[in-house]
């Protein structure tokens, strides 16, 4: 089990400081591990940054890397989870020629069925936005590819965990 390569979502709570991205990504780079996606955002706690990092590796390796991440002075806490232990999403955008919306009726069905949202439409192009799992986004991409995509972009994974991560308690403990 420990030797099997699994997709992990790493959640890291940190201070909001310059250079931390470099410090955290260097931990993966040094071990020759590719980061599939990385997202930095605000967290539920004011002033605390939350990183969501998607990587593929064995659980044994994952545990060691979590140790190295937590060792960083400005890291408050790091966790790893499997897909089953998280609720996760990605978001993507498609820029497509507006003519196609009228010329290729099928596109309208694709939009409806995929639960994608039209963000803007003008004479030249329209923009579609879709949030969901990777396979839903990939399906939509495949379907739209047939008609031609002017631009495509997909965000990194963001995820919340089913279990609690007691960061607030940890920070409160420090203040006492």
């Amino acid at each position: 089990m420990e030797k099997e390569i699994i997709q992990f979502t790493v959640s890291v709570y940190t201070e909001n400081n310059i250079g931390l991205l470099n410090r955290i990504s260097a931990i993966f780079q040094r071990r020759h591990i590719n980061i599939e996606s990385i997202n930095s955002s605000a967290s539920e706690i004011e002033g605390v940054t939350r990183w969501t990092i998607l990587v593929n590796m064995t659980e044994e390796q994952m545990k060691k890397i979590i140790g190295q991440i937590e060792k960083q002075v400005e890291v408050i806490k790091a966790y790893y989870h499997t897909d089953e232990e998280t609720i996760y999403q990605e978001s993507c955008m498609f820029k497509i020629k507006s003519d196609l919306l009228f010329d290729e009726r099928q596109i309208q069905n694709i939009i409806k069925e995929s639960n994608a949202r039209i963000v803007t439409v003008n004479k030249e192009f329209f923009v579609l936005e879709k949030s969901g799992r990777r396979n839903e986004i990939e399906l939509l991409h495949r379907e739209l590819s047939a008609f031609g995509i002017m631009q495509f972009v997909r965000s990194g994974r963001i995820a919340v965990t089913k279990d609690e991560m007691k960061i607030t308690e940890m920070l409160a403990a420090f203040n006492n």
Binding site: G19, N22, R23, R30, G67, V73, V75, F174, N175
Partner: protein, 579 residues
């Protein structure tokens, strides 16, 4: 109660008068507040305002001008290693800063508390490829415990306080603070408060009683227990606690290179060094013990040899301050997190008094084998050429095991670690993890300055010596009375040994045509002698040890001697070779 103290301290802090001073003066004032009496560095454009303040404060703080910034970091390391205090190095931006990197990386892997301060181009020029601009924060990130760039003078007190706190707390390490030149010039209201904690940083995990009980239970039931201690014992100032544990439980105890000297060499339960060139008995019996107790060590590959065959029969207990080290290389059965001093003190009463006489005898028997095959020939050779071992033996005799031995990297280092006699802790100063050739000469300078009452002997090979030989200039200028012994075999000896053993004697680029080292030392006005014959050795070593000034001794040793025992890389520790 803690709240009350904090409140008092906060009150005191608030009462402190604020003074309007420049950023550069603030840096010097922060160093003074942290008890820094000496620092090592090299001036240059972007750090000049700080040097200007160091000039004004020279009666309070001694700046040592090394001859290369790498020397400054190694001196700071030597200072820290012998004293336990934070060493400080300073350099300018660009090449000055990049020259610090080797020493910083060395301090990182050997957990040495140093603070490096670098000047940086003015903040408005950051990222413009300005003269002598390098992204030193980016460059140093993977090799620092923490680093930070200051662009406003007002940040200086808090950042400097954090720098010292982080460098020395928990598992120590190097910190780099980069300060733009405009922040050095900027004036602000200075107030200093030492750092007492950082919310995202838990330097010393709490010792769990249940883990201690599990550990004690394993130890008490062990028939063949063995301890391997590392530098964590020295860093945690736990030498006495370790000795008490060893003696009460009667456990044969070995050490890693970084742990050397924590327990005197002559202690009956001290069974020597583990690892690639360690002693025969502890390496072989690592694969026979039933409980392996690792204390403040990290199972480096040079210690474990082939991991799959390392102590697989043993239950492993790991006392460790850094949670990331647990199960990193060797799977543990019981991990006791926490400070070594506290853990060992709490462990002691849980242990049963014991003496593993038969088990200890096994170590003695294997020592006898090693003595006959290796040690005898190293220390008391009958062949004509001088051995490195007999030089160490002579230094032991004359220093009565009281000297701090600062070694470089290579064959002489392994010989020094194997044969130096240590009666005092913090006496083996060497580049263990990084293996930095050129470490010893500048590290010896720092060590002697931090502990002027101690005899400091640098033992260096002819290769490593030439990597930082320019620090003879620092020795000459500061008159620091370090003793320098170069064991010259006209080879990069360790690489040559590997070439002999594993590359069919193809000595690619390992033979060195060396200069007249004695003449070079004399050129720096350092007393110097060369020994080529056995009969001269004792009297010249005596002359060196008696010297009140710095002294350089070159000993021309056998060119193609090898260091044994040896665990060939990739082999199991119990497949250690005696020849």
């Amino acid at each position: 109660m803690i709240m009350e103290t904090l409140t008092v301290k906060q009150k005191q802090y608030l009462k402190q008068p604020k003074e309007r001073i420049s950023g550069s003066e603030a840096i010097v004032r922060c160093l003074l507040a942290e008890g820094v009496d000496v620092l090592y560095g090299y001036p240059g454009g972007a750090i000049m305002p700080v040097y200007d303040e160091l000039y004004k404060y020279q009666d309070k703080i001694h700046h040592v001008l090394t001859r290369h910034e790498q020397g400054a970091t190694h001196s700071a390391q030597g200072y820290a290693r012998i004293s336990g205090k934070v060493g400080v190095a300073m350099a300018t931006s660009g090449p000055g800063a990049t020259n610090l990197i080797t020493g910083i990386a060395d301090a990182q892997i050997d957990s040495t508390p140093i603070v490096c301060i670098t000047g940086q181009v003015p903040s408005h020029l950051l990222g413009s490829d300005a003269f002598q601009e390098t992204d030193i924060v980016g460059i140093s990130t993977p090799v620092t415990k923490w680093n930070h760039q200051i662009t406003k003078a007002s940040e200086i007190p808090e950042v400097m306080a954090k720098a010292f706190y982080i460098a020395k707390s928990g598992r120590p390490g190097p910190v780099l603070i980069d300060i733009t030149k405009d922040a050095q010039f900027e004036e602000f209201d200075f107030q200093y408060k030492k750092c007492e904690g950082i919310r995202s940083y838990n330097p010393v995990p709490k010792v769990e009683d249940s883990k201690l009980e599990e550990a004690a239970d394993l130890i008490n039931n062990a028939k063949k227990p063995m301890i391997i201690w590392g530098q964590g014992v020295i860093l945690g100032k736990a030498e006495e606690e370790l000795k008490a544990v060893i003696e009460k439980a009667g456990i044969p105890s070995a050490w890693t290179i970084m742990g050397a000297s924590a327990i005197p060499t002559s202690h009956p339960l001290n069974i020597g060094m583990v690892g690639m060139h360690g002693n025969y008995a502890p390496n072989v019996l690592t694969n026979e013990c039933d409980v392996l107790i690792a204390i403040g060590m990290r199972f480096d590959d040079r210690v474990t040899g082939k991991l799959d065959d390392y102590a697989t029969q043993a239950k492993v207990i790991h006392f460790e301050i850094d949670p990331a080290e647990i199960d990193k290389n060797v799977k543990t059965d019981v991990a006791v997190l926490g400070d070594s001093k506290e853990s060992l003190a709490k462990l002691l009463p849980l242990l049963n008094a014991n003496s593993h006489t038969e088990w200890l005898q096994k170590f003695k028997d294997l020592y006898a084998v090693e003595f006959e095959k290796v040690i005898k020939n190293d220390l008391h050779p009958i062949k004509e050429g001088l051995t490195m071992g007999e030089v160490l033996n002579e230094i032991n005799t004359q220093s009565k095991g009281e000297a701090a031995i600062v070694s470089d990297v290579g064959q002489h280092q392994m010989i020094a670690c194997r044969y130096a006699e240590f009666n005092v802790s913090r006496s083996n100063i060497t580049s263990g993890g990084l293996g930095t050739m050129g470490f010893a000469l500048p590290a010896a300078i720092g060590a002697k300055m931090a502990a002027p009452e101690r005899e400091v002997v640098a033992v260096i090979g002819d290769g490593g010596y030439q990597m930082t030989i320019q620090e003879l200039g620092t020795i000459f200028q500061t008159k620091v009375p370090v003793k320098i012994v170069v064991l010259n075999n006209d080879f990069l000896g360790m690489v040559r040994q590997w070439q002999q053993l594993f590359f069919d004697k193809r000595y690619a680029s390992t033979e060195m045509t060396n200069p007249d080292f004695v003449a070079i030392a004399k050129g720096y006005y350092v007393n110097a002698k060369r020994v080529t014959k056995r009969e001269e050795l004792s009297s010249v070593v005596e002359e060196m040890m008696q010297s009140k000034d710095a002294y350089f001794l070159e000993v021309c040793v056998e060119k193609e001697d090898n260091v044994f025992p040896m665990v060939p890389s990739g082999a199991s520790v119990s497949d250690i070779r005696l020849e």
